[in-house]
Symmetry: C2
Subunit: 102 residues, 2 copies
């Protein structure tokens, strides 16, 4: 890799990942579709508002997909898109580094 | 990997990486020791204050090492520690994802 100049595609990718909670939300969703409450359970220190904002943002970036099931009561689930699942090697490498150094 | 519960080591790692600019600064320093100005050149849209803050933080986390060379004028260089160089697979996987999806 050429480290002598910044790459716009890298910049774009870190802009997304370089936000508090994003890496944690993606990790939870790698476990399969989840309801808001289920994501929250794994990241209890994050506020509802913050999770709502991050989910909206991840939806805009097409990292996650929101599905509404017209049941009673309505069920809403979030799942990773193909683009989102493509982040698995990133999440894995962060995990590896954390295990070695945190 | 077990995605059914959050891992504290992953959490610790994302806390560091989930900050604006950190991923970009680490990428620049993978190119070898750099002076403040040289880091800045690759990330011109980041303010001096922000770079100073991030550098201090990365030093606290022992990701980078700051060396002062008593020349005239004094030369100060920043370089990755072993812990910091350990982030190369993370940076590489972010780059790969960015090339595919950004």
């Amino acid at each position: 890799m050429d480290y002598s100049k910044m790459c716009p595609k890298y910049e774009c990718a870190t802009e997304l990942l370089g936000k508090k909670w994003t890496g944690m939300i993606v990790r939870v969703l790698l476990g399969g579709p989840k309801r808001f409450k289920e994501v929250k359970e794994q990241i209890p220190e994050m506020s509802d508002k913050m999770l709502t904002d991050r989910m909206k943002e991840l939806e805009q970036f097409q990292i996650i997909k929101r599905s509404v099931y017209p049941e009673m009561p309505v069920r809403i689930e979030y799942e990773l898109t193909e683009k989102g699942r493509g982040l698995e090697p990133v999440i894995q490498s962060i995990q590896d580094w954390g295990e070695g150094w945190c």
